[in-house]
Amino acid sequence: MQKPLVPGEHRVDHLLIAELVEPGSRVLDVGCGDGALLQLLTETKSTDGRGMELSRERVNACVMRGLSVIQGDADRDLADYPDQAFDYAILSLTIQATRYPKTVLENLLRIGRRAIVSFPNFGHWRVRFDLLFNGRMPRTENLPETWYASPNAHLCTIKDFADLVAQMNAEVEEAVAFNTSGQRLPIRHSISLQNLFGEKAVFLLRGRRGQ
């Protein structure tokens, strides 16, 4: 019944998330987009998955594919969910587009026994290079839009995010950064090196109350 994980077919951060998630668990994917991660988790981990997505078109496409997805806004609608309703609350490359990232993160840690958050790392050397030498807002594969058209409101670096997590008294169970070719950076790298060479990062978090 369960399909194996096949690298190459899926986004690297999705593959990592699929590795982190326990089979058969209850998952809420906030900002689920076209449902690719939910589909991957259903197929490879037999999860009981739900999604929330802001774009009406994408929600409808998800439901037509048979995924349980609602139209909703991470900033507004996460408050509805009860505590610990899911094994994992996932926010994949979305936190930078929320209006109140800290509140969203608090809600994720409350709703899920664990939270998985991935985000584009604004500390990546190319971003720094762009700003330092070109004096312009960086545009990369992960951050393709111009500053005025970008949905991103709260970009952060790996260090920034780690600080916020510490401040919120949550525990980092796993943190992985990917370089531009989608390779995982060696675990021995210091956070400064991860922050310099990681293009995006995935954090597996556990709220203190989840212990």
Binding site: N60, R65, S68
Partner: protein, 399 residues
């Protein structure tokens, strides 16, 4: 007026006889429950004997796991996918229900009952009261959405089905879906409430009251006893329908269809005849409705909708209605529906989220107003198909 329906009445007096015959001896299947199995109504009266007229499509599978119950809206009936014997029109949801359609009768066993209080064969105000040998009229007890669902439960029991694979309905049908999911959640594997609300809004009660007052203001209503006088409050019911019909459309749909176009004339006539196409259209809607619907039924059913408030039944917390539910939900609304706006569907979704229920929610872009759920809306059809096929996999139904 004959005390008992008779096929010979058919065709006489704008189909009044045919209507009366269908109300008491429907062309569809019919479950007659004996006097010994009364229904305890919300108003605390016992109603017996009860008849439930229904249609079925497709085959029930061996483990009885592929049954879909379709709950109809205010003025519709059991003829969801087959010709209506009164209007001779095709089934009202032929776009959605049939062989190869999103609600696929090759896969699913589809059941559609006429609601309690209706006038197409299920017990209602146009039915003969066995105690008097005359139609119930205003002697019929007040009924609620919950009573309608309880009558449907009897039918599902009779068919030997423990759990329905899905309960699907729009508008008042959606209210029944919510009631099923709230009061009989073990028996509902999946639920699709469409263009509906968990309580009837003040504005909607107001529109219904206009309709009822129009019927009751018609002298031919005869205090509800028009059967005895051989009359029908045609004008009153037609006005009620005209007003209601406007609420089913959208300003944009009306403008697109009619604009300010004149009806078969090149200039206005300086009179109160139907100069505008939209007037002519509404008059037509009113008069065809009178030919197929019982006026007292209209009063009772609109009242049942007004009384519907799922939150009030659960300590004013809608989420309590769904606590512990295992049902998979797919809530659907339409952008231009101002009778049951998306906001009201979202309230259902919020309540379902609050109990971490399995819920999908789509808002379909359409300018057809509330009526959109009855029309060809490809995105809506694809949603229903996708949801049912995923739920079918979960239920272990063969693809």
């Amino acid at each position: 007026m004959p005390a008992h329906p008779n096929a010979a009445d058919a065709g006489a007096d704008n189909g009044r006889g045919l209507r009366f015959a269908e109300a008491n001896n429907p062309s569809s299947k019919l479950l007659r429950l004996p006097e010994s199995e009364p229904l305890r109504l919300a108003c605390d009266q016992l109603l017996a004997p009860i008849s439930i007229a229904y249609e079925t499509y497709g085959e029930l599978n061996a483990d009885k796991s592929n049954a879909i119950l379709i709950c109809h809206a205010l003025t519709l009936d059991q003829y969801v996918a087959s010709t209506n014997p009164v209007t001779k029109k095709p089934g009202w949801w032929s776009t959605l229900v049939g062989s190869g359609k999103p609600i696929d009768t090759d896969r699913f066993f589809v059941i559609c009952p006429n609601i309690l209080g209706g006038c197409m064969g299920s017990t209602g105000p146009a039915s003969i009261d066995p105690a008097t040998g005359k139609p119930y009229g205003l002697g019929f007890p007040m009924i609620t959405i919950g009573d309608m669902v309880n009558a449907q439960v009897r039918l599902i029991d009779h068919l030997g089905i423990d759990q329905l694979f899905s309960v699907i309905g729009g508008s008042m049908g959606g209210m029944q879906v919510l009631e099923w999911a709230a009061s009989h959640s073990q028996r509902v594997f999946s639920a699709v409430p469409i263009a509906t609300a968990a309580w009837h809004s003040s504005q909607n009660i107001a529109f219904h009251e206009v309709g009822r007052q129009a019927v009751m203001a018609d002298p031919d209503w005869c205090g509800g006893d028009y059967h005895a006088f051989g009359k029908v409050p045609r004008n009153g019911l037609a006005v009620a329908r005209m007003a209601a019909h406007i609420t089913y459309l959208s300003e944009e749909a009306l403008h697109r269809k009619f604009g300010r176009n004149l009806q078969e004339r090149s200039k206005v006539t300086f009179s109160f005849s139907a100069d505008f196409q939209v007037e002519s259209y509404l008059r037509h809607q009113g008069s065809t409705f009178v030919d197929r619907f019982d006026p007292n039924s209209y009063l009772y059913i609109t009242r049942a909708m007004d009384y519907f408030d799922l939150a009030a039944e659960h300590d004013d917390v809608l989420a309590n209605a769904f606590r512990g539910t295992k049902t998979r939900f797919c809530v659907v609304s339409f952008t231009s529906d101002w009778l049951y706006p998306t906001r009201e569907s979202r309230e259902i979704v919020h309540a379902l989220n609050a109990v971490a229920a399995n819920v999908s929610f789509v808002e379909i872009e359409s300018n057809n107003g509330h009526d959109a759920f009855l029309l060809e809306e490809p995105e809506f059809s694809a949603t229903v198909r996708g949801f049912l096929s995923a739920a079918g996999k979960r239920r272990g139904l063969a693809g």
